[in-house]
């Protein structure tokens, strides 16, 4: 498999747990240096994909290359260059934060700059002397972030990196990830919080029921989504022809003076059709990434129901 300048390449990745098909042929490419968001609802296959990349689980079919290496053939070499934050972060309860991080340092052959570890902990307001068992979910997440970043990895695989963090700490983690990217690292993170992906990612993939359904820049996803448009006309009109424009549906109208439309995809056709009307005002509601996401999700439900 040619991987060139790709940090992650997955082709036809499939994985089942008994009768449950978690991945049904995931195809994915992430370029080196990208900040890549992996979006999907719970159970869509985000965690399973990430765990396949680390050789924690073995796919039933498909090929994977991480930083040009096959994780199944050379898992240690792959993991040396990766920082991983699991979605379900669990650590040894009997240790203190520093003891846990020292153990991780041992596992990395003691090649960790502890000055940098303390700097990361300070930025996240994390007390290294605290016992793990006494930490809140948010503080545990901070330990997870520190251990993922502490060896300055080439590739960060983060499964819901800001789960449990307060908004200030979320912003700090975003800054850390952008800094890592600026230093040349690739950041691949999963999330079901669409605003997070929209804020952080250069590129986004949406996974639904074990298949990648869309891969684009966050702004491109917006342009593909459903928008709601309110139009005020200067005099009463017949809005029916507007409903015949490709992708447009008239949702409601008020005496031909005010029309509420829904448009799926580009607005070009509607704008051209409106040239024949006495338009007083147009108000376009920008879709949130939540709506984009739901559009894909609803599409799936409709398919299943049919």
């Amino acid at each position: 498999m040619m991987t060139g300048d790709k940090a992650i390449v997955a082709r036809g990745l499939a994985k089942s747990y008994g009768k449950v098909r978690a991945l049904r042929g995931v195809d994915l490419e992430v370029a080196r240096g990208e900040l890549f968001g992996f979006l999907g609802p719970n159970g869509a296959g985000k965690t399973t994909t990430i765990r396949c990349l680390l050789d924690l689980i073995r796919p039933d079919a498909g090929e994977i290359r991480v930083l040009g290496l096959d994780p199944q053939a050379d898992p240690v070499a792959v993991r040396e260059r990766i920082g991983y934050l699991p979605g379900e972060l669990n650590m040894e309860q009997s240790l203190k934060v520093e003891g846990q991080l020292r153990y991780f340092t041992d596992l990395r052959g003691n090649k960790i700059d502890w000055g940098y570890v303390r700097e990361l902990a300070r930025r996240l307001d994390l007390d290294l002397a605290m016992p793990i068992k006494n930490l809140s979910k948010g503080n545990k997440q901070k330990v997870g972030v520190v251990q993922a970043l502490m060896h300055r990895p080439e590739l960060l695989l983060l499964d819901e990196p800001t789960a449990g963090l307060d908004p200030l700490m979320q912003q700090e983690v975003y800054r850390m990830l952008r800094e890592a990217q600026a230093d040349g690292a690739t950041v691949f993170f999963s999330s079901h919080i669409i605003s997070e992906v929209g804020t952080l990612a250069n590129r986004v993939a949406i996974i639904r029921a074990g298949v990648i359904v869309e891969e684009a820049q966050p702004s491109q996803l917006v342009s593909m989504a459903i928008r709601r448009i309110w139009i005020r006309f200067l005099k009463p009109v017949n809005p029916a022809p507007l409903g015949e424009v490709e992708g447009a549906t008239v949702l409601s109208q008020s005496n031909g003076l005010r029309v509420h439309l829904q448009v799926e995809g580009e607005l070009d056709g509607l704008i051209k059709a409106l040239a024949a009307y006495p338009v007083g005002d147009i108000e376009i509601e920008r879709p949130s990434l939540e709506e984009i996401f739901l559009a894909y999700y609803e599409g799936d439900r409709t398919e299943e129901e049919n």
Binding site: Y17, G18, K19, T47, R51, L54, L56, I57, R58, P75, V76, A77, R79, E80, I82, Y84, P86, E88, L89, N90, M91, E92, S94, Y103, F104, D106, L107, R108, G109, G144, Q147
Partner: protein
């Protein structure tokens, strides 16, 4: 591998210290009682007068007033079960406890191969077991200096070798089962059940000749106990260690093949009893 060995010793230190204290206290108590027990007038005769069935269950009580017989009956006869329960629980949870707690997921994302992780932990398991037995040996050999137990330190040490082999055998069996069965608890229960069952079977075989042919196929049949004071049966000892090695190799192979679980996956997908009952009720 060394990081995992160190980590296993650190994590298990509480368990190890607890067991060592218990084993040491028992050893010291039994040594201090030796002179008094054998000094009781008519003690040997009393033992001889025990019902044959009871004496047979313990493999005979005729030598109980000798250091060898005393050690055999009061220590090595059932220490396989006592320390065996410890090693079974240690073996069953060696990898799978961390997996069930979701800790292994993160550990395995570090640059440590499955082989290094596995053997690092197995070495830790062996070291913890050896340290507990070392304390057990010291608890006999040190206080025995002031008693009539005229055994040398090497004679005290010898029966600990088959005890070590036996408990390691059941511990590695538990480790293997934990990587095959859906949970560490199930593996521990099964391996512990086999150990206790084997112990009872050996005792009962002294009462029932028909069982003799069967017990030859069980590990405890090849356990010397206190009789090893006179000399080790190297064939038996080697055989037990070889079986433990085979269990370990099978467990290692299985660990190489399987997915690291974080909960929810795996299991046998057997329908829950309650679901079956509900379904039958609906059909009725």
């Amino acid at each position: 591998m060394l990081a995992e060995l160190k980590h296993t010793l650190l994590r298990k230190r509480g368990q190890m210290i607890g067991w060592a204290i218990g084993i040491a206290a028992y050893g010291v108590l039994m040594v201090s009682m030796f002179d008094s027990i054998v000094g009781i007038a008519g003690f040997a005769e009393m033992m001889e007068s025990y019902p044959e069935d009871i004496a047979a269950f313990f493999g005979g009580l005729s030598q109980i007033t000798t250091p060898k017989g005393y050690l055999d009956v009061y220590y090595f006869n059932y220490m396989t079960v006592i320390i065996g329960i410890f090693t079974v629980s240690l073996g069953a949870g060696l990898l799978v406890n961390d997996e069930e707690k979701g800790v292994l997921d993160l550990v395995m994302s570090y640059p440590v191969s499955r082989t290094a992780l596995f053997w690092g932990r197995v070495l830790g398991f062996l070291a913890v077991t050896a340290l507990v037995l070392l304390v057990g040996w010291l608890s006999w050999v040190l206080p025995a200096q002031g008693t009539e137990m005229d055994l040398t330190w090497i004679e005290f040490l010898r029966p600990f070798a088959p005890l070590f082999a036996q408990v390691v055998l059941f511990g590695t069996l538990a480790l293997l089962l934990s990587l095959v069965l859906p949970s560490a608890r199930m593996a521990g229960m099964l391996a512990g059940g086999l150990l206790v069952g084997n112990y009872l079977l050996i005792g009962l075989s002294n009462l029932n000749e028909d069982l003799k042919a069967f017990i030859e196929y069980t590990p405890l049949y090849y356990y010397q106990g206190g009789k090893a004071i006179d000399g080790l049966n190297w064939g038996w000892l080697g055989g037990q260690l070889a079986v433990a090695l085979v269990f370990s190799l099978l467990a290692w192979w299985r660990f190489q093949q399987r997915d690291i679980r974080v909960g929810g996956e795996g299991g046998w997908n057997l329908p829950a009893l309650s679901r079956l009952v509900r379904r039958s009720a609906r059909q009725a």
